[in-house]
Symmetry: C2
Subunit: 272 residues, 2 copies
Amino acid sequence: MINSISNRQVKEILKLQKQPKYRRSTGLFVAEGLKMLTEAAENGCLVKLYISGTVAGKDNERLEKLCMSCSFETVTDNIFKQLSDTVTTQGVLGIIKQPSYNITDILNCKKHMWLLLDNIQDPGNLGTIMRTAEGAGMSAVIMGKGTADLFNPKTVRSTMGAIFRMPFIYTDDITETIKIIKNKGFNIYGAAMEGSKAYDQADYTKGAGIVIGNEANGISGRVLGYVTEKIHIPMEGKLESLNAAVAAAVIMYEAARQKRGCINISLHNYNK
Amino acid sequence: MINSISNRQVKEILKLQKQPKYRRSTGLFVAEGLKMLTEAAENGCLVKLYISGTVAGKDNERLEKLCMSCSFETVTDNIFKQLSDTVTTQGVLGIIKQPSYNITDILNCKKHMWLLLDNIQDPGNLGTIMRTAEGAGMSAVIMGKGTADLFNPKTVRSTMGAIFRMPFIYTDDITETIKIIKNKGFNIYGAAMEGSKAYDQADYTKGAGIVIGNEANGISGRVLGYVTEKIHIPMEGKLESLNAAVAAAVIMYEAARQKRGCINISLHNYNK
């Protein structure tokens, strides 16, 4: 049983939790909880399992099954507490291979609905966006340089497993990806306060790209130059903006609604 | 200048940040940042201002204006850091009177769109829901017993000022409020996985109540017994549920979309 914080494996886990660079160079990340780890095992991504002393002794069918899928170690409760990123830990933690996708597959996905993130910074927002993107049936989430790291422990947790199911890719220059999607004949809609068209007046039924920008500053000027049309979400009250994950959800679900075959008829035009 | 952690006022601030009960008994709460505090001052809610040493010396027109609105104290940077709930503090913190509303006004609001929260637990979710509710033009947010405290520092921050503009109320028994809204002739839609109708097939144009349940368990069985109809948000992939703030946003914005005069035509029926 691992009982020291200076144990080599313990140090490895802490490094994977704290250092985005180390996660990138190893292609690994850390996640917690039976549900998440079972999903990792089913996807063949689970590399190694760590179990707290208390949990190891308990009769738990799911945990036993999980232990059969890869090598595991037990860790004293005290050390496990220092490794866990959550307040109420389930006492199970794993090192997992990062899923990866290639841009050609992502751009050829037949759903033709791409979410493009320009500099989303909050780990929780990014995870929630991945989760919603799966629910709304997007093809993939394409992230520009500067977007937060998907394998941050908080982000991983917020995806609720979508990290294993939702295709994603980081691109060095998101405008290049936007150009390719436009060349395929799809519109790119950018969520912007000053958008001339309300989000529900855009047509997503033939497929489209949706760009969501940074929490504080919105879509960067350079990226905005490449969108087909700016769209806005009408807001009442004195609110300056919506939360980025909320804005992404409202637009993605409008696209999904239209794609399911519900068509709008505007009874009257309205302006922003 | 306050320079001790055992200063009476410092203790008061920490107590207001940490103890929901103390916030309730005093009717006060703590918030940070120039924007939030300026809004509090404009609403006549700002009681006392605390400024970090560094910030106090700087030439800042907004801060000076704020200091004229109520009494203030300077605090050493070191003590201020211990009071601040954020990583990158602006060095301004205030004690604020809690806004309050009465149920009669809330139920008579002409917008006729009520959001009812049954046991939302995450402070960030609650704040984001308040923020979205303002944007979507809801009448008020009605919270059942067991819902998180709106005046938790994290919740306050997530509202982005909506806490001063969006009417809200806590009720001992949310089913009593639901009964009153139903007696006024409005439908109550409950977001539930097993909802028979998709959220965008419900009619919100004549006004309605929308119930959102707990993050892990959804709407409680007792409350669910009082809804007019259960509605679900269609989900692709293998996702079990959406984030509660996202689900609330998707439904509130569909209601807002319908109220703006965009009517659905279903081209084909679809099932859950």
